[in-house]
């Protein structure tokens, strides 16, 4: 977890070989963001320019007003509200359930510990896609089709494993002696947890929060299957309503995807260094 202490900043000296490395890396970087640049540029074109010949990459007249108009052209506000409510609630549920489990697993031996960890690890590998018919029938059984609570619980369930694995790694990194010392000094176990352990494990908590939020935000298959009314669609399925139409309003479609993508990209970049450890159950460090 701890990054290598930064070496003394050695001044970078350009050699032909290093220049070649740098240039190929820049090209790789551009390659991976190119589609998203294309999305941004298209989102700034007036509708008439979309299919104009000759096609141009840059908008001829930059239609920044697309970003204002889209709110009335499509129920983007509704989509965003649904996505925010569902993602925030799923994240809270994951925290509520994973923090005690991860803490207990990191601190105690108990019968069934290995079985519990195996169960968690196995669920991390499942995506809801394979179980979608079962999920659909269960949600229907509870009379929760077309509701947000169903979406919240399913998303929380499938993101639980990441949080448990990541957080128990963080909890085990806090020496139990520090915690015990706090308890000797008169803290309750809960106070020790809150004052001593949580601050140290904050990066883990932030990572778990952001990861759950982003993956719920992006979840598609379950939302597509159990949410049917347009008013309750989250943004991931909401945007597909643009595509089916005869004359696709690509400029508004892409203003919407830009609004949906940019915040989660920033969030994901902020947790870059912990992502791999959580996703591979710590087996790749």
């Amino acid at each position: 977890m701890s990054r290598k202490v930064k070496k003394d900043k050695v001044k970078f000296i350009w050699t032909p070989k290093k220049a070649a490395t740098a240039i190929s890396a820049y090209m790789v970087g551009i390659f991976f963001i190119y589609p998203y640049l294309n999305m941004l540029l298209t989102s700034l074109k007036p509708h008439g320019e979309l299919y104009a010949t000759p096609t141009t990459r840059l908008p001829k007249s930059w239609q920044f007003s697309n970003y204002l108009d889209v709110w009335s052209k499509a129920p983007v506000g509704n989509f965003l509200r649904a996505s925010i409510v569902v993602s925030v609630c799923a994240t809270l549920l994951v925290l509520l359930v994973s923090v005690p489990a991860a803490y207990y697993v990191a601190r105690n031996r108990f019968k069934g510990r290995s079985a519990f960890l195996l169960l968690v690890l196995a669920t991390q590998m499942f995506s809801p896609t394979a179980l979608i018919i079962g999920i659909f029938r269960e949600v229907k059984f509870f009379g929760q089709l077309d509701t947000w609570p169903a979406l919240i619980v399913v998303n929380a369930g499938f993101n639980l494993a990441f949080a448990v694995w990541l957080l128990s790694g963080f909890f085990s990194s806090v020496p139990v002696e520090i915690e015990e010392a706090a308890m000797v000094d008169g803290c309750t176990r809960f106070q020790a947890l809150r004052r001593i352990v949580l601050p140290v494990t904050l990066p883990g908590l932030v990572t778990a929060v952001i990861f759950t939020f982003v993956s719920t935000w992006n979840e598609f298959t379950v939302a597509l299957t159990i949410i049917s009314s347009p008013a309750r669609q989250p943004i991931s399925t909401g945007i597909t309503t643009f595509v089916g139409q005869y004359d696709v309003a690509w400029e508004y479609l892409f203003t919407t995807t830009a609004i949906a993508i940019i915040p989660v990209v920033i969030l994901f970049i902020s947790i870059e260094k912990y992502l791999v450890g959580g996703l591979t159950a710590g087996s790749v460090k």
Binding site: F32, N38, R57, G134, G157, V214, T280
Partner: protein
């Protein structure tokens, strides 16, 4: 990040093991959530696959293997199954082969490395459906970036290619988009593996006169085995499950021409209301994933116990 071991030996408490009941208030909610969201749907799926079910979802009693029989009588199944194997193997293979040098590249030091890594995170963070829709636009017949570039480079003359609707190309386009969205995660897993290799080993080899390629082939690559294995297994599952790419780009069409068993099961259930065979296929898909998960648990167990 220290991996937590499944065995109790890493736990610092020397007290005797607690009973499962005393753990329950802490881990009970997690177990409950997993039972509700993962185990219940799995059991329900298996139960329905053995039950006669109408298109409206009404159950009409035990049906034995009737649904499975119906599924295997489907003339399209064989092609779809073969395509699924091709899909999974080619996407995972291409992803890993491309990610290996990319990880090596972004592990070098050069100015702006942080930004290149950030750029590579974008397709990982962005919704796969949205990325697929962006590619749909880039592959558009006349105004899409792809055909535009081909025209400007003078490669394409006359009638432009309709990449997504032309049956000669549509499946390859799907493979391409799947590789594009799988590379970032894979590259970062391999990068994490590269970063965990101790510097002194590499320096020692360099002092002994090993060339860059010898260092890579003889030291780095063997030490990457574990990262590669993990990345491959996780990708196998993700690509097999990959529903949004195909759904957003072709809906498995035209006809069943670009369906995999995953989209085919979905299509039968929620488009054609042909629930019986769909649940049978769902169980087979689920069984396949179980199999890979078991391999994954075995592979990671060894690492977890070493840690």
């Amino acid at each position: 990040m220290t991996a937590i071991s499944l065995g109790a030996k890493k736990v610092k408490n020397r007290r005797p093991a607690n009973s499962f009941l005393s753990a329950l208030p802490w881990i009970g909610p997690a177990i409950l959530l997993i039972l509700l969201v993962v185990v219940w749907p799995a059991v329900e799926l298996i139960r329905i696959s053995l039950t006669k079910i109408t298109s409206a979802g009404v159950l009409e009693g035990f049906n034995g293997l009737g649904n499975y029989k119906l599924l295997f009588e489907n003339p399209d199944l064989k092609t779809i199954a073969i395509r699924t194997v091709v899909w999974v193997l080619s996407v995972v293979f291409l992803t890993v082969i491309i990610s290996l040098p990319l990880a090596q590249l972004i592990n070098q030091s050069f100015p702006g490395r942080k930004f290149v890594r950030w750029a590579m995170i974008v397709p990982w963070a962005a919704s796969v459906v949205m990325t697929s829709i962006i590619w749909k636009w880039m592959l558009e017949l006349t105004s899409g970036e792809f055909n535009l570039t081909l025209r400007q480079l003078g490669i394409q003359h006359g009638q432009p290619v309709d990449w997504l609707r032309d049956p000669r190309f549509s499946f390859f386009v799907l493979i391409w988009v799947a590789v594009f969205v799988s590379i970032p995660f894979t590259t970062f897993v391999i990068l994490a593996g590269l970063q965990s290799i101790p510097h002194d080993i590499i320096e020692a080899a360099q002092v002994d006169g090993a060339s860059a390629w010898q260092v890579y082939r003889g030291i780095k690559f063997p030490l990457l085995r574990n990262s590669l294995l993990i990345a491959t297994i996780i990708n196998l599952i993700n690509v097999f499950n990959s529903f949004p790419i195909i759904w957003a780009l072709t809906r498995g069409g035209p006809g069943y021409n670009t369906d995999t068993t995953t989209t085919f099961a979905y299509k039968m259930a929620f488009v054609e209301y042909n629930m019986g065979p769909s649940t049978a296929l769902g169980v087979i898909n689920f069984g396949f994933i179980m199999l890979i998960v078991l391999v994954y648990l075995r592979v990671t167990k060894a690492t977890r116990d070493q840690a």
